[in-house]
């Protein structure tokens, strides 16, 4: 098995900590593991948005961020026991864990603009994968432009972005994977 380098960051949900923690994670990968360029920019975006998400939605407690580096990928995990994922699609609220055991295979579109969708592919009632779908052609109806970009930023910066709600512990886990080489745009439908 390939060697993995890892680092853990703890976020206590104060705004002052946010950017220094992003820089700590970036510094670890840059100076401790030689990650550079476009990949490092994507890491910065993903860390920033995961921590912003925690600040907005994690109801007290703390959030743990884990960074793993192997020869092919950087994996960033965010764990907390705060509020579970909630998304709105077509005016309908979806809150995890989703009801029933019939969710596998369903897809929920949570963002759509300018020839691009962000969808959630449901694996079961607790696990989901975010997918960027290029629908084309582009159209720029600015009044319909979404105002929530966090999940889209992460999904576009990663090759894989998943969420899982662990029922027994009420733990939320987001997992974002950024490849060390090649395109990192998450266009699973292309």
């Amino acid at each position: 098995m390939a060697a993995t380098v890892s680092k853990q960051l703890t976020f206590n949900h104060t705004a002052d900590e946010l950017y220094p923690l992003v820089l700590e994670g970036v510094d670890f990968l840059q100076h401790g593991a030689g990650v550079a360029g476009d990949t490092l920019t994507k890491v910065k975006l993903v860390l920033m948005e995961l921590l912003t998400n925690a600040l907005k939605h994690s109801d007290g407690g703390k959030t743990e961020i884990e960074l793993y580096l192997d020869p092919e990928n950087i994996t960033i995990k965010k764990n907390d026991t705060g509020n579970p994922l909630v998304v709105y699609s077509g005016g309908i609220k979806h809150e995890w864990p989703l009801p029933g055991n019939h969710q596998a295979g369903r897809t929920v579109c949570v963002y759509s603009w300018n020839g691009c969708n962000l969808s959630i592919a449901l694996k079961n009632n607790c696990r989901a994968e975010f997918l960027v779908e290029e629908t084309g052609p582009e159209q720029t109806d600015l009044l319909n432009l979404p105002e929530h970009f966090g999940l889209m930023i992460i999904a576009r910066a990663c090759s894989s972005f998943e969420y899982e709600f662990e029922i027994d512990t009420c733990k939320n886990e987001f997992t974002a994977v950024i490849p060390l080489a090649g395109s990192a745009i998450n266009d699973k439908y292309d």
Binding site: A15, K44, L45, M48, T52, T140, L142, E147, F149
Partner: protein, 113 residues
């Protein structure tokens, strides 16, 4: 105040005075930008020269102001984005929603066209 605003050739140039344009200042930014529109601003250049990074909350506030501008028959353009911020605009296609200029001077000059 998050924004410092001057008038240049009938354009309002409003400079974001924070390095970290994030969740903690996004609502204030939105309120101040709406205020510029509501007091008659028709061409607003949002200057990012002092900003190191932006997050999704701040971008959401900027988009909200853009929609308000459209309904007020006004225009918001952006200038002075660093490489990371420009990359973020492109990543989520906000470069299709906003006119982006390298400099304030170019943004102001564009109004005259």
């Amino acid at each position: 105040m998050i924004l410092q605003t001057t008038t240049q050739q009938s354009a309002l140039v409003t400079t974001i005075q924070v390095k970290e344009a994030n969740l903690t200042v996004s609502e204030k930014f939105k309120t101040e930008l709406f205020g510029l529109l509501d007091t008659g601003g028709k061409y607003i250049v949002v200057n990012f020269e002092q900003v190191t990074y932006v997050d999704s909350s701040f971008l959401g506030a900027l988009v909200s102001a853009l929609k308000h501008a459209i309904t007020n028959k006004a225009e918001i353009v952006v200038a002075g984005l660093n490489k990371d911020i420009l990359g973020l605009f492109q990543l989520i296609r906000l470069d299709k929603a906003f006119k982006i200029f390298d400099t304030i001077e170019n943004a102001v000059a564009d109004k005259a066209k």
